[in-house]
């Protein structure tokens, strides 16, 4: 008899998706009713995940593992869903009649990512990853004005399908050479055979699927177009929750390699350097705010890789910490973006002009989030970068950290451009004050508080991520 209690977060989100699937078949549901249903269900979801955080156990003949690592990420994912739902008061980017489908796909995607972070068998990892990818492709398609969403969605789908093909080839090579598919058993065998060329090729191919999710070079080409063409709320979800899940599964897979081999580390170092440099240099010239955030996501994928390629407990725990900080900082940027473009259009950076007068709290939140992304103390982003760079220094990757520091300086330039637009530029014509509901003001205040508190008193989160990383080794 299986212990079903430990599966309750997944059950809960399966239930939520079923509710929205049924609602999508009903006639005439008001968008407000849907929004409140989603808000309540998502907030209960965070509660369910928090309640299950200390549970451990194995399910489904060992293909599914509940441990602190997976549960911490499940809490982050449910928080991501809840925050994205908070932004859906005016879901202008998506046609009214497709709102139930939007919520259905969003909750199904969250469910898929939860299963992804808990899977410990190659087959389960693959199908869970595909489930989350297909929900995201469809979400991108849903953008109002159809052609735009379809173009970007197709691009996303084609790159994603090629990445999964490569990943499956990697799975096949790995299984063919070591004959086990349970991650626990791979963990025992892999470090011994890591100098075999087949195994290295298998691992590199296998990682491509996750690199695609995280938008690591050379699988980052979808990011700017998809960010630009998807509805603002969908972009928020892709930039926050899906990145968190990608970081989780990447940590789990790289942790299999134990101390790693020189080939693997060299490849990851190269990818990390190229990814962050390309991301930061391309972001400098962007006019569209969402494209800028897309390239900044690419750059952050590079930073996270530094933590992961350290292949030490400190490295993995710093990557977990960084996942949380990306979730908060990126979400805050998108909160401002969604609220400023209340009719669901895309936003240029110059449209942010005069924001500090139109809504001081949003301008403040944007500034804190951008400072966090740039890594300025005392924000959570600074602590995250510090942890990652320390972990890399302990392993002696001095050059890598130096290059990353140079990248941080480049990124500071374009983040400050946005802050300048919000605080110093005057709008061309006088714009009315933004109507920001009280709840959003409270949310923005809480996020500012969270980012600063996470920067000054990170001890609890660091401890938690360290314990979570310990379950992997």
């Amino acid at each position: 008899m299986m212990n079903w209690i430990i599966f309750s977060p997944e059950f809960y989100f399966l239930l939520v998706s079923t509710v929205f699937l049924c609602l999508s078949m009903m006639r005439r549901i008001k968008p407000e009713q849907l929004y409140f249903t989603a808000l309540v269900l998502a907030s209960v979801g965070v509660g369910v995940c928090l309640a299950c955080v200390r549970l451990t156990g194995d399910l489904f003949s060992g293909t599914y593992r509940i441990d602190l690592f997976s549960q911490v990420f499940k809490v982050m994912l449910s928080m991501g869903l809840f925050l994205v739902v908070c932004l859906c008061t005016e879901l202008e980017g998506i046609a009214k009649r497709h709102h139930p489908e939007f919520y259905f796909l969003l909750s199904a995607c969250t469910l898929a990512m939860m299963m992804l972070v808990s899977s410990v068998h190659l087959l389960t990892v693959y199908v869970a990853l595909e489930l989350s990818s297909y929900s995201l492709y469809t979400l991108v398609f849903l953008r109002k004005g159809r052609d735009r969403g379809v173009d970007a969605g197709l691009k996303y789908f084609l790159i994603g399908a090629s990445a999964s093909a490569l990943m499956l080839f990697g799975f096949a090579l790995l299984y063919g050479s070591i004959h086990v598919a349970y991650l626990v058993e791979i963990l025992k065998i892999l470090p011994k055979v890591l100098n075999r060329p087949v195994v290295i090729i298998a691992l590199i191919l296998l990682l491509t699927g996750f690199f695609f999710k995280l938008a690591v070079f050379p699988f980052h080409f979808w990011a700017p177009d998809v960010y630009e063409s998807a509805a603002n709320q969908v972009t928020t979800y892709i930039a926050t929750a899906s990145k968190v899940a990608a970081i989780a599964i990447l940590i789990r897979i790289v942790a299999l390699a134990g101390d790693g081999s020189a080939y693997l580390v060299h490849m990851l170092v190269t990818l990390s350097i190229v990814t962050m440099t390309i991301g930061n240099l391309a972001a400098v010239v962007q006019k569209d705010f969402k494209r800028l955030l897309a390239y900044s996501s690419v750059a952050h994928a590079g930073y996270v890789l530094i933590g992961i390629l350290s292949m030490s407990q400190a490295g993995y725990s710093s990557a977990i910490f960084y996942a949380l900080s990306i979730l908060m900082m990126k979400f805050t940027c998108f909160l401002v973006l969604v609220k400023v473009s209340d009719d669901g259009r895309n936003l240029d950076i110059e449209h942010l002009a005069g924001l500090h007068r139109r809504s001081p709290i949003l301008a403040m939140a944007l500034m804190m989030a951008l400072f966090g992304l740039a890594g300025i103390p005392p924000t959570i982003g600074f602590t995250g970068k510090l942890l990652i760079f320390t972990a890399a220094m302990q392993k002696g990757y001095f050059m890598l950290v130096l290059i990353a520091m140079i990248n941080v300086v480049i990124s500071l330039y374009y983040y400050l451009l946005v802050v300048r637009a919000a605080y110093l530029l005057e709008p061309k014509e006088q714009l009315p004050e933004l109507q920001v509901p009280g709840s959003i003001k409270v949310l923005a205040g809480l996020l500012i508080f969270g980012m600063v508190a996470g920067g000054i008193f990170p001890q609890y989160i660091i401890e938690l991520s360290r314990t979570a990383a310990m379950t992997l080794m």
Partner: protein, 167 residues
């Protein structure tokens, strides 16, 4: 070289060649026919590796049902052959270069590994044993796939709507 490995390599060449032809044809009907050949090759490969049940499924579902569906769609939509290249040659060449480098490097690395030279042996998996294993050890994966099909169904319903219906 055993008889099994000779058959294996013949099949592998057949599959790669027919798939290559399938993705490079301008005429869609020809492309589908080459794809059917490739699926037959894969089915024979499954049979050779001792999975007759999967071989039968491959023929019935992929080479049979899905390909007929493709042909239906091509004929009903009356899609003309594409005149221009899908990718301009300028983008195509670097991609080809990367592929060649990867194949050469990969081949060298794999040939340099002594453990990859394992002679192919005959094997067999009973369909019953296979089914028991799949549905006992991996039924979570099967459930996830069923959810995946549901999501794809939603996507197809959405994308399949005519433009007027979509507002």
């Amino acid at each position: 070289m055993t008889l099994y490995s000779i058959i294996f390599y013949v099949l592998a060449v057949l599959i790669i060649a027919s798939t290559g032809l399938a993705i490079s044809r301008r005429n869609l009907v020809h492309a589908v026919v080459y794809l059917v050949i490739s699926f037959f090759g894969v089915a024979m490969l499954f049979y050779l590796l001792g999975a007759p049940f999967l071989a039968a499924l491959e023929v019935i579902i992929y080479a049979g049902a899905i390909m007929v569906l493709f042909l239906f769609i091509i004929m009903m939509l009356k899609v003309e052959a594409f005149e221009e290249r899908f990718f301009p040659i300028r983008q195509w060449l670097p991609a080809l270069g990367m592929c060649v480098i990867f194949i050469v490097a990969g081949a060298f690395m794999i040939l340099g590994d002594p453990d990859t030279r394992i002679p192919l042996k005959a094997a067999a998996a009973e369909p019953v044993a296979f089914g028991h294993y799949l549905f006992q050890a991996h039924w979570l994966a099967i459930e996830i796939i069923s959810l995946l099909l549901l999501i794809v169904l939603v996507a197809v319903l959405y994308l399949g709507k005519r433009k007027e219906q979509y507002k």
